[in-house]
């Protein structure tokens, strides 16, 4: 591992900062001013990144419990109501031999949020405790988590569609319950936590162990 400090210098250490909105390079002394190209306020790192990200993550973990214990919707046929939770809905699908969509709903509603919370915890701990290992893999993990997290809204949309469609008076109707509210807020909070998290903080604690790739076509314009 060749690791000369000049090979890896962050823009901030070199006296520059990157506009977060249009990615124009500015001098670090312009921090707090507005970008002359896009008008956004210039910050070399997202302000209060760690505290906002931690707060949203912890709140989402706490809310995950009621989201899974409270019923998300109630299916009523001929006067008989049957409330179901997220896991109950998945098990019902599996019992009815709808394995494929059972697995899709299980993945979107339980596996993805849990993995996302674990991933965000790992990333936040990496920054909090200045861990130096597998930084590139962790950055990759963040990209995947950020992309896949929104699919957790799937069950919320299903509830919305079913409630709107199955309104047949006394024969059958479906109504939503507050477990759905808790779950929607869980998804929202994990998305906020990921947005507030600044991936550059992962790399700030010293120089990483990854050698640079050889780049051709170098040109100073």
């Amino acid at each position: 591992m060749t690791d000369s400090p000049t090979a890896f210098r962050s823009a901030r250490d070199s006296g520059y900062l990157l506009c977060s909105d249009c990615e124009k390079l500015h001098y670090l002394s312009q921090e707090g001013l507005h970008c002359d190209r896009c008008g956004a306020r210039l910050h070399s790192r997202i302000a209060n990144s760690m505290s906002i990200s931690w707060a949203c993550l912890i709140a989402s973990i706490l809310l995950f419990l009621p989201a899974n214990l409270l019923p998300i919707m109630t299916f009523t046929t001929f006067g008989q109501g049957e409330p179901s939770t997220i896991l109950g809905g998945v098990l019902h699908l599996l019992e009815e031999d709808m394995l494929m969509i059972g697995l899709i709903v299980l993945t979107a509603s339980i596996v993805v949020p849990v993995l996302k919370m674990i991933a965000l915890t790992i990333l936040l701990c990496t920054v909090q405790f200045g861990l130096q290992t597998n930084l590139r893999q962790k950055t990759m993990m963040f990209r995947i988590v950020e992309w896949i997290g929104r699919w957790s809204m799937l069950d919320i949309f299903v509830i919305g569609i079913l409630v709107a469609l199955v309104q047949l008076g006394s024969i059958a109707h479906i109504e939503g319950n507050h477990g759905a509210t808790a779950f929607a807020i869980v998804v929202l909070l994990t998305m906020f936590s990921a947005i507030a998290f600044d991936t550059r903080l992962i790399w700030d604690n010293g120089i990483s162990d990854c050698p640079p790739d050889s780049t051709d076509h170098k040109d100073d314009q």
């Binding site: 929104r150 919320i156 569609i161 939503g176 700030d204 076509h217």
Partner: protein
């Protein structure tokens, strides 16, 4: 004050300072440390975005006005448009969930299409474009919050869930929705923020409407 060196760039994901390299049209420039995609070239980006945003705005109308699904059981029938999934939840007391569906499935995609149309139209026809910055900020910050493709998967799952209980009929709204999702996905691919901000820079220098 604003004369930052043009030959330097920084990675937006790990803040590594790198020398700018001239890339071929088919070559992506990737951060050597964290492998983030730094910049790339999209050919005819503005023209494609203009066409796609017009197509998207047109498709948005049938996707929201025509029923996506109809249900028939015991001689009764019920059909729904996208908005109704938010309205029914609102009436049932789940205001937060209703609001989120309204935002993610209707409002955000519409704002993004309007912003995209404004950006591509003003840059293509060299109009004044006083709101270019705001349009760019809205489009970029709303990325990931439009969830029509997830809504569509929700419709498919609802169909499978209900198919044994009732007769279901797929409406024109669902086909329009599928086409709209294709258009929005393509416009996301052709939206090249680096290149568009650069074009806005040139646009401003050419026009006198800015100070």
């Amino acid at each position: 004050m604003q004369g930052t060196p043009k030959h330097l760039i920084a990675c937006h994901e790990c803040d590594l300072l790198i020398e700018r390299v001239v890339n071929q049209p088919d070559q992506d420039v990737v951060c050597p440390r964290c492998h983030a995609l730094l910049y790339y070239t999209t050919l005819n980006s503005i023209e494609r975005l203009l066409a796609l945003s017009i197509a998207g705005l047109i498709l948005f109308i049938p996707a929201n006005l025509f029923p996506i699904l109809s249900l028939h059981v015991f001689g009764q029938s019920q059909s729904e448009i996208i908005l109704q999934s938010a309205l029914s939840l609102y009436e049932g007391g789940l205001e937060v969930v209703a609001l989120l569906i309204l935002l993610f499935a209707i409002v955000v995609p519409l704002i993004q299409l309007i912003a995209l149309f404004y950006i591509s139209f003003t840059l293509h026809y060299r109009w004044e474009g006083r709101l270019l910055r705001q349009a760019m900020h809205s489009y970029q910050h709303l990325r990931g919050w439009g969830m029509l493709e997830i809504f569509l998967l929700g419709v498919l799952i609802s169909i499978i869930k209900l198919k044994d209980i009732a007769d279901l009929e797929v409406g024109l709204g669902l086909y329009s929705l599928a086409a709209l999702i294709i258009v929005i996905t393509l416009s996301g691919i052709f939206f090249n923020p680096h290149q568009i901000w650069h074009q806005i820079d040139l646009h401003r220098k050419q026009s006198r409407f800015y100070d």
